[in-house]
């Protein structure tokens, strides 16, 4: 069966039971074509109820009856076994509804429907493999919101998969993902390869056959067309491992390099029953199977992260950031804000608020600008508009790093704004929980930034995380502890390290020391002052506290009721405030 054949199906004669009417079959075939066109992408379709329960192959069955006909020869396996009860049940149903022949010889089939295995026998470009899928969303283990998963797929934002693996590696030394190991298809879409064992994952890569994966319960179909790249997700320097029982062989056929399942005596059996039987009768093409063996991925404890064990260098590995502080051509600024306005419209229960009413400023590389104002002055809303958490009502924000400052960043869509936050613009929030995942380690929080920015070397990530954490004076022996167990000051230091991880050109500090005890805050302020001095970075510091502004910034704006009412060099503002409101702020700082 070729892809062309997928378009055509024979109408079953009247004397056979129909499990899916012709309209339903067409819907499935349309979805399959879309799935083939966008490899690895989950295509939603109107999955219908089948005579088998959801989770028992209702998706695979819809595919097989939609693409199959009486001229086909169908093989059905479950766990690699043609005679497992579920395989027998499905075979009886498929053969009965299609009027098709069945076979147990993979070489002889046109369609193989399988649960949990790819046959050991290589399939050709004349054959289709239909895999039943119980869980189609590979991001589910790291994200439970379905809308968020869809956004992550749309933006190819898969960093959290790597972070989960980083966390596994630093706690247990190996990646815990077992069957259904996440793969990247065609270097674009993250895919759950139905729960086939890891053994079968490399065998999905560049195969001759068309593979269609269907999840009936979640109403999704996706495909790996022939000769498509399928790569297991892993770090460049951490080997992906298949299941392999060293020195074990099948007690029936003697095979070693096949997927083996354990018996209760501790011996092993081929999971692929057909293959096992044919090995015993010498009816296998050994040379061809040899090419399919995922030998490159056999486990080697010496290559695991603990076996490699690279020593962490701490801050000495930090070096100096590459970039020298970009400005817009002919200008001195890295960040320019002009006439920024934010109005929250009124609703029942809340009146309209003009929170920011035309704020303008610019910041040069190596410069720190303070924005001071009382709670409610509009400074946090202004900051949220810069970050992208709030949509500004009017105004322009330009970044030298984006299109040489020609683009108004406020016009970019949410996805582009999110990308800016990866390596151009970083934020340190007042509340560490807003900037950190408290359930993962300090190193993992930094790995999150680095993997999002494209880092794929475990050891580079680890060295960089260790260097940053050491620099912000988080003890390295705490690096692998969850941040939720850290003190407030320590969390803030981790957040600062994370914000600097990708050497951003603009750093936004939103009340960075407000939640901390005075002595802890003083230490964090000292650290921030040093970090700013070390870097050619444009910094905006928002605070209600003149001491913070004075400690960190060269210039400052005073905000009141959404507008800038006074600005100047920070020292001068502090020494000689003109506006009564500024005078009050200065007086408060002296108390």
């Amino acid at each position: 069966m070729s892809i062309d054949d997928v378009l055509h199906s024979a109408v079953p004669p009247q004397d056979r039971p129909v499990v899916l009417d012709e309209q339903g079959q067409r819907e499935v075939r349309r979805a399959i074509l879309a799935a083939i066109a966008v490899p690895g992408h989950q295509v939603p379709f109107g999955s219908r109820e089948m005579p088998v329960a959801r989770g028992w192959g209702s998706g695979g069955l819809q595919v097989t009856v939609a693409i199959g006909g009486s001229q086909d020869r169908i093989k059905v396996i479950d766990q690699g076994d043609d005679q497992g009860v579920n395989a027998v049940n499905l075979r009886r149903l498929i053969a009965g509804t299609l009027g098709a022949e069945t076979t147990e010889d993979t070489r002889d089939c046109t369609i193989t429907q399988s649960r949990h295995r790819i046959p050991e026998q290589a399939m050709t470009d004349e054959q289709v493999l239909v895999l039943q899928v119980p869980v189609s969303e590979p991001l589910r283990p790291v994200e439970k919101s379905i809308a968020a998963c869809e956004r992550m797929h749309a933006e190819a934002d898969y960093s959290r998969i790597w972070v989960a693996m980083y966390e596994d590696l630093v706690t247990g030394g190996v990646v815990n993902a077992s069957s259904g190991y996440p793969v990247l298809v065609n270097d674009r879409y993250l895919m759950a390869p139905s729960p086939i064992p890891r053994w079968d994952v490399p065998r999905l890569d560049q195969g001759d056959r068309l593979t269609i994966l269907c999840h009936g319960r979640d109403k999704k179909v996706y495909a790996v067309p022939p000769h498509t790249s399928v790569r297991p997700i892993t770090f460049d320097d951490v080997p992906f491992e298949v299941e392999y029982a060293r020195d074990q062989r099948c007690i029936r056929c003697g095979s070693t390099d096949v997927y083996l399942v354990e018996t209760r005596e501790g011996t092993y059996l081929c999971s692929d029953v057909e293959w096992c039987a044919r090995v015993r009768t010498g009816d296998v093409d050994v040379a061809e199977h040899e090419r399919q063996i995922p030998r490159a991925y056999y486990p080697d404890p010496a290559k695991r992260v603990r076996g490699v064990g690279i020593r962490l260098q701490g801050r000495s590995a930090l070096g100096h950031s590459e970039h020298t502080g970009r400005t817009a051509p002919g200008e001195e600024w890295a960040l320019q804000v002009t006439d920024l306005v934010k109005v929250f419209p009124g609703r029942l229960g809340s009146s309209p608020v003009r929170a920011v009413t035309g704020v303008s400023f610019d910041v040069a590389p190596g410069e720190a600008l303070g924005v001071i104002g009382e709670s409610g002055s509009g400074k946090s809303t202004m900051m949220n508009c810069l970050i992208g958490n709030e949509r500004a009502t009017a105004g322009t924000v330009r970044l030298a790093a984006v299109d040489d400052g020609r683009t108004n960043v406020l016009d970019l869509d949410d996805a582009a704004r999110r990308r800016l936050r990866l390596d151009v613009m970083s934020v340190v929030h007042q509340d560490p929980a807003a900037g950190l995942d408290l359930r993962i380690s300090a190193g993992g929080n930094i790995a999150d930034r680095l993997t999002a920015a494209g880092w794929r070397s475990f050891w580079d990530i680890r060295q960089r995380a260790a260097a940053l954490l050491d620099r912000v004076e988080v003890p390295l022996h705490r690096m692998d502890d969850v941040v939720g167990q850290f003190s407030g000051g320590m969390r803030q230091r981790v957040q600062i390290a994370r914000a600097l991880a990708t050497d951003p050109e603009v750093l936004l500090l939103d009340e960075p020391t407000t939640g901390l005890d005075a002595s802890v805050a003083a230490g964090v302020l000292d650290l921030l002052r040093e970090l700013i001095a070390e870097r050619e970075i444009a910094v905006v510091v928002v605070s209600h506290d003149f001491q913070v502004i004075q400690a960190l910034t060269d210039r400052a704006l005073v905000m009141h009721r959404g507008a800038v009412i006074e600005q100047g060099l920070t020292d001068q503002l502090f020494a000689d405030p003109h506006h009564a409101y500024t005078q009050r702020l200065v007086a408060a700082a002296h108390v």
């Binding site: 053969a95 147990e104 439970k144 379905i146 815990n176 354990e262 309209p352 959404g562 009564a580 409101y581």
Partner: protein, 398 residues
């Protein structure tokens, strides 16, 4: 007729409603149906009822199902209310769930468990094709299928051997974490004891054993596609069993255990790799589910939730899960409270109407604004930079 106009009208309305059911049934000739026929025809419903009622008697359950017209929550209610009329005469000896007669046993986690994979009475592997009474099998087993089976006997012949639970095999391999809890020796009885969180494991198991099947399944499924949830999606079942066992009580005179009844129950074990931070990733953990009668769906859900409850413990999330399991899964509580919405509520509703009227009156008299800012005209103007100190309209301290 008004359903609650006066007490007199209420009585006649109730009697008329009961008559409707009685007459319909009599006209259909159903008064002669006996509980034996109900048991034979609707065994699955009977078992579900006994599980949710926590009362093992097939004839009583059949009578309840008949009286309820097949409405399972109604029948469960009848049985639970009946249970309240029964004195508790004795407490049985603990039943060893391994000293039983196997009616069905599947072990998904292994190909060859110790003892049989025994398919037993199940519709799992039959196509769900609607078949009118008397119609022929829409999927007759073809010669080709039968032939293939004869040609290739795949299973190794089974020696007659003692049955060992899969979790026991795992434990012997040192692949299981130890969950023995000596602080919970006597099982919690939800029929007699109030719930005070946090609860013991036996309380969670007791509550789930009589939980509503659908509610418990949904509690599990929420973890699969909901925005939150507790159960591990990556769970593998060990033993799933439907068994028959003897119930023994201590004889009041001899002091010896004597068998007084035989019951059927379902039990199930759910196994999960301990791959969360703080757990031992070299080991697995097991959750347990049990219910009276043949109730596989319920016991599988129960086992996954028991496993989740053990892993979450008494932490913040664990307490939330305990609250969900102890407080929201009882069939009488949830169905009863839902149905109470059908009771007359016009007194309380009148009170809500009054508040809505008051709000509308306010809107009419004072426009659309909702605040209490008397005399303001709109959004506050921005204070200009040259506003003299001390004239701040909102009275900022100076």
């Amino acid at each position: 007729m008004s359903y609650a106009g006066t007490s007199k009208g209420g009585t006649s309305a109730i009697l008329a409603a009961e008559d409707l059911i009685r007459v319909e049934r009599a006209e259909a000739g159903l008064d002669s149906v006996d509980t034996g026929q109900v048991r034979a025809l609707f065994g699955a419903s009977i078992d579900r009822l006994m599980g949710e009622a926590g009362l093992y008697d097939e004839d009583t359950a059949a009578a309840a199902l008949l009286q309820a017209g097949g409405d399972l929550p109604e029948a469960t209610h009848l049985l639970r209310a009946h249970r309240s009329t029964l004195p508790r005469l004795a407490v049985s000896e603990p039943i060893d769930p391994d000293q039983v007669q196997l009616l069905r046993r599947v072990v998904p986690a292994t190909r060859e468990p110790e003892g049989p994979q025994l398919l037993g009475n199940t519709r799992d592997y039959s196509a769900r094709l609607l078949r009118r009474p008397g119609a022929p099998d829409p999927l007759p087993v073809s010669d080709q299928l039968r032939h293939a089976q004869q040609e290739q006997p795949v299973a190794l012949p089974h020696p007659d051997e003692p049955v060992r639970r899969f979790s026991a095999w795992m434990r012997a391999q040192d692949r299981m974490v130890d969950r023995v809890d000596p602080t919970d020796p006597e099982p919690f009885d939800p029929a007699y004891q109030p719930v005070v969180l946090p609860v013991s494991r036996s309380a969670l198991l007791s509550a789930m054993a009589v939980a509503e099947t659908g509610g418990l399944i949904n509690m599990w499924y929420r973890s699969i596609l909901g925005p939150d949830g507790y159960a591990d999606e990556d769970v593998t079942l060990g033993d799933v069993r439907h068994v028959r066992a003897e119930v023994r009580v201590t004889h009041p005179h001899t002091g010896e255990p004597v068998a007084i009844a035989r019951i059927r129950f379902t039990d199930c074990e759910a196994i999960s790799h301990l791959d969360e931070r703080g757990e031992d990733p070299a080991r697995f953990d097991v959750g347990y589910g049990i219910a009276l009668g043949h109730n596989e769906r319920k016991t599988i859900a129960m086992a996954t939730l028991d496993l989740a409850a053990q892993r979450y413990g008494n932490g913040e999330e664990g307490l939330k899960l305990q609250q969900l399991l102890m407080m929201t899964t009882d069939p009488l509580a949830s169905n009863g409270f839902l149905e109470h919405l059908k009771l007359p509520h016009y007194v309380t509703f009148r009170s809500q109407l009054d508040r809505a009227e008051a709000a509308r009156q306010e809107q009419r008299e004072h426009g659309g604004g909702t605040g209490l800012l008397i005399g303001t005209t709109g959004p506050a103007d921005i204070e200009s930079a040259d506003t003299p100190a001390g004239t701040d309209r909102e009275g900022l301290p100076v």
